[in-house]
Amino acid sequence: MTALSTPPATLGETSAPAAHVRDLGARTWVAMPLLALSIYVGARPVPPAPPIGPLIDPVHGLWAITREPLSRGDDEATLAGIHTSVTVHYDTRGVPHITASSEHDAYLALGYVVARDRLFQLELQTRAAAGTLTGLVGARALDLDRRTRSLGMPRAAEIKLAALDSNDAGFRAMVAYAEGVNAWIDDMPASRLPVEFRLLGARPARWHPINSVHLLNEMSRTLSFSDDELRRLTARARVGAAAADALFPFDSPIQEPIQPTGQRSPRFALRRLPPPGVPDESAAELARAVTAAAPRRAISGGFDDAIGSNNWAVSPGRTADGHALLAGDPHLELTLPSIWYEARLSVPGTLDVYGVTIPGAPTIIIGFNRDVAWTFTNTQADVVDYYRERVDDVAVPARYMLDGAWQPLVPRVERYLDPRGRVVAVDTVNYTHRGPLQRRSRGWISMRWTLFEPSGEHGTFIDATHARTVAEWLSGMSGYVAPAQNMLVADRAGTIALRSTGAFPLRPGDGRGDLLRDGSTRASDWTGVWPVATYPQSVDPAQGFLASANQQPIDPAVNATYIGADWYPPWRAMRINQLLRADAAVTPLAMRRYQTDPGSPRADMFVPYFLAAARAAPTGGTVERAARLLAEWDRRYTPENERAVLFEYAMRELSRATWDELRAPDDQTQASGPRPGEMILVELLADSTSVWWDVRGTVEIEQRDVVVRASLERALERLVTDHGEPDSGGWLWSGIQRVNVEHLLGIPAFAAPSVPALGGPSTLSPSSGDGTFGASWRMVVQLGPEIRAWGTYPGGQSGNPFSSRYTDRLATWAKGELDELIVPPRGAMLRADQISSTLTLSPAR
C-alpha cells in the first residue's frame, strides 16, 4: 500500500486500499485529457485567441505589461552600430531630444527610441504597405494583402530601394535607422514586448531599410490614390457624357486657389448644368472594369472632408511681432497610437531639427530647424492612370499588344505566408511596362502610378532638414516625387513660399488623366513629368500670406493645364483666407485659434437658400418652424450650439433628393451612385428651374424651392425622431458629432472613443461622419531670432496602452489648445527642469 493509493478524506488520512486504486484510476483518466487540453490551449493559438499560457501569465503576460510613468527613469544601453555615445533627453512632454556626434548615430538613435515607444506600430504599418499582414495575423488578412500586392506596392518599394545610391543620404539614414530598430528588438526586456504582439502571439520581425520605403508608399496610397476615372465613368453610365463631365468637372466652380491671384474673394465660375442624357452603356461596362481597383470613397461618392489638411504662413509685414509665422495641421485618420511621433535630432554644427516623424521614417517629416519651418497638405493631383489592355489569352495572359506587336508580360509570383511560415496563397501579378495588370470584369486593365517611379523621398526630407533658407529648402525638395504635397515653408529672414511638389505626369493629346486610355499603343503613355519650375508656386506674395487646404492649386483662368480633378471644396480655404485677410497683425495665439475656428463658409453659402425657400411659400407648419430654428443658428460649429445638426440633416436630405438621377435604377438609398461635390450643388442652386431639381418617380415637375423646402421639412422631422425636440438637449453639437480615435488593431479597450468635436464638416478643424478623421498634428511656428513653436496631436508618445503617455495629449488636443514645444535656445542644452529622464546609448567595445 502506498501513499499514492491512499485517498484521504482530509490531508494525511488514509482509507480502504481497493477504493484507493479505483479512485486513483478514475482521477488519472480525468486528469490526462485535462492536462492535454491545458497544455494545448496554453501553448497553441486557438484562432483568433493566442496561446493562453503566456498571455495570462501574471509575471510575463498581459497583467504585467510595464506601465511607463511620466518619467521613466534614466536608462542606458550599449549599441553595436553607433560610433560615439548618444544622449537622449526625454523632455517633460515625453519628446526625445537626441544629441549625437554624427548624423548616422542620430538616425540610428531615432530608430531605437521610436522602436522603444512604437514597436508594434512599426510592424503593422510596414506589413500593411508590404502586403505581409498574413504573416502577423494569418489568413484573415489575405484580402488586404492581395489588394496591396495587386497594386504593385511591394515591387515599387523594391525598385525604389534598388535605385538608390549607397551614398544617398536617405539610403544611409534608412540603414542606420534599421540598425537602431533592430538594436531595440535585440535589447528589449520581455516585459516591454508590446501588448498587441502578446494578443496575437507574435514576435516583432527584423527591421529592414526597405520598410522605410514601404511606409512612404502607404502614405501615397492614402493620399494620392484616387481614380476620377471610375466616378466619371459611373456617372456617364447613368446620365451620359455631357452631364457627367459637368457634374464632375476638372475645375472648381468656386475658385479660391492656392496660388494667389490678387482677388480678395472667391471667383464664382458657375455654369448651367446640362440635363441628364442617355445612359452610356459602354461607360457602364468600363466602370465595372475598374471598380475593384477603386477606393470606396470614389465608388460610393461619399466624401469625408475631415481627411483634408490645412497650412498657412504669414509674412512678417502682417504679424504683430514682425516675424514670419507658419501653421499646419494635416488631417488624417486618427489612431492610437498616433501616426506621428515627436522628436528632435541634434548634431552640433550640422543638424538641429525638431518636429514629427512617422514611425518608420528615418527623419523629421513636418517641423522646423533653427532657420526654417515647413508643413504639408495633400495636392490631390491626378497621378494614377488606367489603360485598357489587349492580351493574348483572356484567361491566362502571357503577352500584351503594344504598337502592333506582342510584348511579354513580366510575371511576379506573390506568396502569402502565415505567422508560422506556411503558404496561405500564391498569386501571379503580371506587369506591363506601365505597371500591374489586373483582370476586371471581362477585360484587363493596367495601371500607371507615380508611386512606381524610382525616387528617394527620404533623401529629400533629409536635405530639407539642413536648409537655412526657403530657397535651400525648396531646392532640397525638388527631387520629391510622391505623394504630391502642397509644401509650405517659411524662414527667419521672413520669406514664405508654397509649392505644390511631386511628379505630375505629362500626358499626350489633351493631357487629361480622367478617362481610361488605350493600352495598345505607346502613344497613350506619359511623356514625362512637369519640370520643377512649372510647379504651382508662390514666394512672398503681395497679399502677405499663403494658404492651402487641398483646393485647386491654380485658377484655370491663369493656367488651365490639367493637374487633377479631385479637388476638395474650397470652404476651408475660404475661411482661412477670410481670417488672414481680416487680420493685419497676426499673433501666434491667433494662428492657434484659427486652427479650430468654428466658422463655416459652407453654412454661409447654403443656409440662405433654405431660409429663402421657406420664405418664398409660407405654408406654416413644419417648414416654417424648421426655417425659424435654422435662422437662430450663428453658422458656427461650436460644441454648445443646438442648430448645426439641423443644417447637416437638411444638407443630407437635399443631396439625396437632388442627385436621384445618379442612383442605380434598383437602389433607393443612393449608396450606389456617385455624388457630385457641394460646389456643383451651388451651381444648381443658382438655376432654380433646372431639370435636375425634378424628382424621379413623382408626377409633378419639381423646381428648386420645392425640393429645398421639402428637404428642410424632412430634416426637422427626422431630427426630432432621432434626437428629440429642439431644446431638449439632444441637438447639442457636442453630443452629435464626436471624434473617435481608434486603436490600430481596432481593439475598443485601447481606443479613445467619443471625444467631443471642435468643428463640423468643412470647418478648419473638420469632423464629420464617424469622426475617425481629423487634425492629426497641429503646429504653429514663430520664426523670430529664436524659434518658438507650439504643437500637439491626439494621442501620446507611447504606443503602450497601459502607459500614461498613451493618450496624455488627447485632452489638450480636444480643447483646441497646443503645448509650447520645448526648444532650447540655439546652441544651448535643455534645462534640468525640462528633462524628465535620460537615455544614454554607448557604442559596444
Binding site: T2, L11, T28, A31, P54, L62, W63, P748, F750, F802
Partner: protein
C-alpha cells in the same frame, strides 16, 4: 502543530509556484506540479498543487492590480473582448487545472515507473 505544518507546506508550495512562474513562465506551474508528487506521495498532493498554483497566480495578479490600479482589469479584459471578470477567473482557474492535472498524471507516472513507495507513512513534511 499539524495545522501549522500544513500552512507552512502550503506557503512553501505557493512560493515555489511563484518562483517557478518568474523563472519559467506558465510552464513553471506545470514543472512544480509534476515534481511535487515525486517529493511527496500523499493522495492529496494534486489538490494541493492545484490550490497552490491558483493562489500563487492570484497573488501575482493582485500585485499587478495594486501596482497598476483596478482599471487594468477592465482594460486587459477589454483588449481580449471579454467581460472584466472573465480574465481574472481564467488567471486563477487555468493554473489550478494545469497543476492539478499535471500532478495527477505525474503521480500516476511515478507509480508506473515503479518508484519505491512508503506505505501509510507520514509524508516527508511530517504530516
Amino acid at each position: 502543530m499539524k495545522r501549522a505544518v500544513r500552512l507552512y507546506r502550503a506557503l512553501l508550495l505557493i512560493g515555489a509556484m511563484m518562483l517557478a512562474t518568474v523563472a519559467l513562465g506558465w510552464w513553471g506551474v506545470l514543472f512544480v506540479a509534476a515534481v511535487y508528487p515525486f517529493i511527496d506521495r500523499r493522495w492529496s498532493v494534486p489538490a494541493e498543487a492545484g490550490f497552490s498554483a491558483a493562489a500563487a497566480w492570484l497573488l501575482l495578479f493582485l500585485a499587478n492590480v495594486i501596482i497598476d490600479g483596478p482599471g487594468i482589469v477592465t482594460q486587459v479584459g477589454g483588449a481580449m473582448a471579454l467581460a472584466p471578470w472573465a480574465l481574472p477567473v481564467l488567471t486563477i482557474v487555468f493554473p489550478a487545472i494545469l497543476a492539478w492535472s499535471g500532478a495527477v498524471v505525474a503521480a500516476a507516472l511515478q507509480r508506473v515507473l515503479g518508484r519505491p513507495r512508503h506505505v501509510g507513512a507520514p509524508s516527508p513534511a511530517g504530516d
